[in-house]
């Protein structure tokens, strides 16, 4: 079993935003993509995924709309808004800063 890690809520939001930067996607697809991109280390519990998506929508960072997928089935697509794009850039920078600092402390002898 691949090791799994616990995710903080803010981090999940960041990952979702990143996923959507690569293109609009429906809920299941977002979860699967994150899994794939992290080599299965990160597995999003569905219980966290949809609440996170609704929260992001409430904050105006993503928008959703019903559409028909290539396979011809009905899906609810989520996509980034302009505010979401701006927020993502800021969150990513902030994350980088944080993780570098943590890494630095851990590597100190």
């Amino acid at each position: 079993m691949t090791p799994r890690a616990e995710l903080l809520q803010g981090t999940l939001d960041l990952l979702i935003l990143k996923t959507l930067v690569l293109g609009p996607l429906h809920g299941w697809g977002i979860g699967k993509r994150i899994e794939r991109l992290s080599d299965d280390v990160l597995s999003i519990g569905q219980g966290s995924l949809y609440p996170a998506l609704y929260r992001l929508e409430d904050r105006g960072l993503v928008r959703s709309e019903w559409a028909v997928s290539e396979e011809g089935r009905r899906v609810k697509l989520y996509s980034l808004t302009a505010a979401g794009r701006r927020s993502f850039a800021a969150e990513q920078a902030s994350w980088r800063l944080l993780s570098n600092a943590v890494e630095q402390v851990l590597n100190a002898t």
Binding site: Y50, D58, R59, K76
Partner: protein, 911 residues
């Protein structure tokens, strides 16, 4: 904008709840399906196995849905809406409760909202002029001349205007009635003489033409053909000239002088009164101004921002003292004699003239009525609450917290209150129309009364208060001590339980009684006042008398005696007329001149010997027609001559003051001019000023209440119009003829009109009214108040009775088992009845005591409106309390009798 975005989402969430729910479920379902297919592909399991795995990894769907809903952010509101829906269903099931509660509330709210609308429009709204709160009226008190309240003289006006700094733009005006000539005959019109400052002060813009200005004052007053500029009132322009747009520039004949129309004023403008039809330009000239010759001018001005009324009055007092020597008659002795003092009042106060007292009284009584109605509805809620005790217990045991219960009760109160308020608003609309139609003519600013946004806001506020009140009441009863066990088992509350329930009901009934008693005290006082007023003997008999108000143009002034006598003769000839008389100003109509008099043989008797006295001309036959008792000497019937050369008749009050030492008949009087000297006329033969010959008292009549019914009969002198003339220096240009007949007075109107115009078509008729109507107008305000209070009081009494009956009946029903037990143990029917009645009586007595206290406090505020009745009249207090006790006993009688007839076995079995 995030807030907008969020609000829009909330709104969507509220409105499209069902749709959003479906979408969410659809999304979850699709997710599960995709996961299932993914698992089938990647792990090669069967569909059912994949589906099971998918569901397991997904977890409880419900939880996510809850989460999802939470983030939609409208949880609390959604649940409240659900509560409202539930309450609505429950209310529909108990239709009787809902209907009675809503109707009762609607009655109370409607009455109060209607009254509020009137109070708001008349009393609270500012006058319709710019910076109206700073407008003031300037008057004088001249105690030295016996004048409590009088206007400005030309000299004081000019002096204040030039030296005063705290009042801007002081403007004066006088009012009179004049003859307007026309093809169909002359018409009597209300005229105000004023300068252009008045219109500047009031910020009026004409709808046609322009307002006259200083530049229009070009002629000289000696020039009879000087065409003075005038302005027309809008309604007058419509009615008399058909709204003719070419009216500007037309010259009208007013009192035989040419007057040119320069403009028409906007509709709704009516200063100083609604009836004013024409404004004639008049500028006060400094050349002939005097200090204290006559105080005919009314004056208004605007306070400078920041100046108060008392500041302005103090300034004017200072300025007044510096008027000495500025005018010929402003001598130190004259100033000391007159004792002039300026009095400044806010204009609104003068316009309202005490009407605010009347209106607030009505508001207070309607408020009491609403409180009674609310207590009634509160009682209904209380009773209903008891019936739902079981339901509440079940909810509580299922986990409904206090908040959830509270929400349910509030939802119910809200529905009832909102429904009651909405219906009340509809009722108010009709009530307002009724109020305005019934109100006395003298109530100012009635034309501005309109149901508008402020009424709606007021009603909404009441609805909110009512909601809180009823919600609170319901809460208090339940959330405190709901004992689940016994309640659930018993279904209805068992014997002995429910103490708190009863106490709250009793409190409601006591409250109703208290408010009703307070209201009825006010009502009784007002009714008593009204009956006393109507019973006053005004000094004449009004029934059967028709009055015809006739005006004379100046050019006919020389022939006035002949013309008036002709009219009177013609009127005597009308079939059905038993007697005819006339007077220059009718009592209770507020007209008429006053002049000071002095008895010649008592010259120099101190005090207010020179007090002004009502001065009237009469056409012989007046006292007989009006049935005013003649107390001494002659009353001048038609055709009667007198042994005296200059005979006059005086009222008994005047006789008592001037001739307290003996009979008045035969004694002599002189009329004084404003300087306190006997009036003198210029005699052409001797070319000097010769004092007029003194009058001789030929008769004394009973005092007539001239000013109002409330004021004591005044002092008056009556000059008969006979040959040779008694009074040469004053010509009465108006004469109201009085006709007595056995037929209804108004039937004679047409014949009377013909009698006037047959005598001379230049005579004008200002109005024909039955004397009874004029007297009725004098009591209109009291009648209005008494009528409204009576209605409110009756409604309140009815509601109170229903409340007492309801409570008694309910108590009996609930205590049936207990009563059954008592009867089984040997209690007689009388004892049982006594028990029930005693309970009712205790509550009523308590309520009455509180109500008496309330009523006593409130009636003190009424005292200015009462006539001949003390605000603490013990008869009224005792009467009202007794009434309520009797009503309470009667209302409790039926339930008490029913209790007495309780069959013990069936009562105990029902438990």
């Amino acid at each position: 904008m995030l807030i907008v975005h969020r609000l829009r989402r909330r709104l969507r969430a509220l409105l499209h709840r069902a749709e959003l729910e479906r979408e969410m479920q659809e999304e979850m379902r699709l997710h599960l399906e995709e996961e299932t297919e993914f698992l089938m592909r990647t792990r090669g399991v069967s569909r059912s196995e994949a589906s099971r795995l998918a569901h397991v990894s997904f977890g409880g769907v419900a939880r996510y849905e809850e989460h999802g809903r939470d983030t939609r952010g409208v949880r609390g509101l959604e649940e409240f809406v659900r509560d409202v829906r539930l309450s609505l269903r429950l209310l529909v099931r108990s239709r009787v409760f809902a209907v009675v509660a809503v109707l009762t509330l609607a009655l109370g709210i409607g009455a109060l909202s209607a009254t509020f609308t009137v109070v708001n429009s008349v009393v609270l709204q500012p006058l319709p002029y710019p910076a109206a709160e700073r407008l003031v009226m300037v008057r004088h008190a001249a105690p030295g001349l016996g004048l409590e309240e009088t206007g400005l003289s030309s000299g004081t006006y000019i002096h204040y205007r030039s030296h005063g700094t705290l009042i801007e733009d002081l403007a004066v005006y006088t009012e009179t009635t004049l003859n307007l000539a026309g093809e169909d005959g002359a018409e009597r019109i209300h005229v105000t003489r004023a300068g252009p400052e008045l219109f500047r002060l009031l910020g009026v813009q004409p709808v046609l033409g322009r307002v006259y200005e200083e530049a229009d004052w070009t002629g000289s007053e000696m020039d009879l053909n000087w065409t003075i500029s005038i302005l027309l009132a809008h309604d007058f322009w419509q009615q008399r000239f058909g709204g003719d747009s070419t009216i500007v520039g037309r010259v009208l004949d007013i009192n035989d002088s040419p007057r040119q129309v320069v403009g028409v004023l906007p509709p709704g403008f009516g200063f100083p009164r609604r009836e004013t039809q024409v404004w004639v330009m008049n500028m006060v000239s400094g050349d002939r101004a005097s200090f204290a010759r006559s105080f005919e001018y009314s004056a208004i001005g605007r306070l400078r921002p920041g100046a108060s009324v008392s500041d302005a009055q103090a300034e004017y007092e200072r300025i007044l003292s510096s008027i000495e020597g500025v005018y010929g008659d402003a001598t130190p002795s004259r100033m000391a004699e007159v004792q002039l003092a300026p009095v400044i009042l806010p204009l609104k106060e003068v316009v309202l003239g005490g009407a605010d007292r009347v209106l607030w009284t009505i508001f207070g009584s309607m408020l009491l009525l609403l409180l009674v109605a609310c207590a009634n509805v509160g009682n209904l809620f209380a009773v209903r609450g008891e019936n739902r005790a079981r339901e509440v217990a079940i909810r509580t045991s299922l986990g409904a917290g206090r908040l959830a219960l509270a929400r349910l009760f509030v939802a119910e109160s809200l529905i009832v209150s909102v429904a009651g308020a909405a219906l009340g608003l509809v009722l108010a609309r009709y009530a307002i129309g009724l109020l305005v139609a019934l109100s006395p003519v003298q109530l100012p600013r009635l034309e501005t009364v309109r149901l508008d946004a402020s009424t709606v806001v007021f009603t909404a506020a009441i609805a909110i208060l009512a909601t809180s009140l009823f919600g609170l009441l319901s809460l208090l009863r339940h959330v405190r001590r709901v004992q689940l066990g016994p309640v659930l088992r018993a279904g209805r509350c068992a014997v002995g339980a429910g103490h708190s329930h009863r106490r709250m009901q009793d409190a409601m009934v006591a409250a109703q009684v208290a408010f009703t008693v307070a209201l009825l005290i006010g009502t009784a006082l007002m009714l008593r006042s009204y009956t006393r007023l109507v019973g006053v003997d005004p000094g004449f008999t009004a029934a059967g008398v028709l009055t015809v108000h006739v005006g004379l143009p100046y050019r006919l002034a020389g022939r006035h005696r002949e013309l008036y006598q002709d009219v009177a003769e013609r009127m005597r000839g009308i079939p059905g007329v038993t007697s005819v008389g006339g007077v220059s100003a009718l009592p209770l109509t507020g007209g008429g001149a006053e002049h000071p008099l002095r008895a010649t043989d008592l010259a120099g008797r101190g005090g207010h010997a020179d007090q002004p006295v009502a001065f009237r001309f009469i056409a012989p036959g007046y006292f007989q027609t009006m049935r005013t008792p003649l107390l001494a000497g002659s009353g001048f019937r038609p055709g009667e001559t007198s042994e005296y050369r200059y005979p006059v008749i005086i009222s008994e009050t005047l006789a008592r003051r001037l001739f307290s030492d003996g009979p008045a008949v035969g004694r002599q009087l002189v009329r004084l001019n404003p300087d306190g000297e006997p009036v003198a006329m210029f005699d052409r033969t001797t070319r000097t000023r010769v004092p007029l010959p003194p009058y001789t008292v030929a008769g004394v009549v009973a005092a007539i209440r001239d000013e109002s019914l409330q004021a004591q009969g005044g002092e008056a002198i009556y000059i008969p119009i006979i040959e040779p003339s008694v009074e040469r220096s004053i010509v009465p240009t108006e004469m109201t003829f009085t006709l007595r007949s056995a037929r209804p007075p108004l039937e004679l109107a047409a014949a009377a009109r013909r009698a006037v115009f047959d005598t001379d078509p230049a005579l004008s008729i200002a109005g024909i009214r039955a004397m009874e109507d004029i007297v009725a107008d004098a009591t209109a305000r009291e009648r209005f108040l008494a009528g409204l209070l009576l209605t409110a009081g009756a409604a309140s009494l009815l509601l109170g009775t229903v409340g007492i009956y309801g409570t008694a009946a309910y108590t009996v029903r609930r205590r049936t088992p207990e009563i059954g037990m008592r009867v089984a143990l040997g209690a007689s029917p009388r004892t049982v009845m006594g028990m029930v009645l005693r309970e009712s009586l205790t509550v009523v007595l308590l309520g009455s005591a509180v109500g008496l206290a309330l009523g006593l406090a409130g009636s003190r505020l009424l005292s200015s409106l009462l006539f001949d009745v003390s605000a603490t009249d013990p008869v009224v207090m005792a009467g009202v309390t007794a009434l309520l006790i009797i009503v309470a006993l009667c209302a409790s009688l039926a339930p008490a009798r029913r209790a007495a007839r309780t069959d013990p076995t069936s009562a105990l079995r029902a438990e």
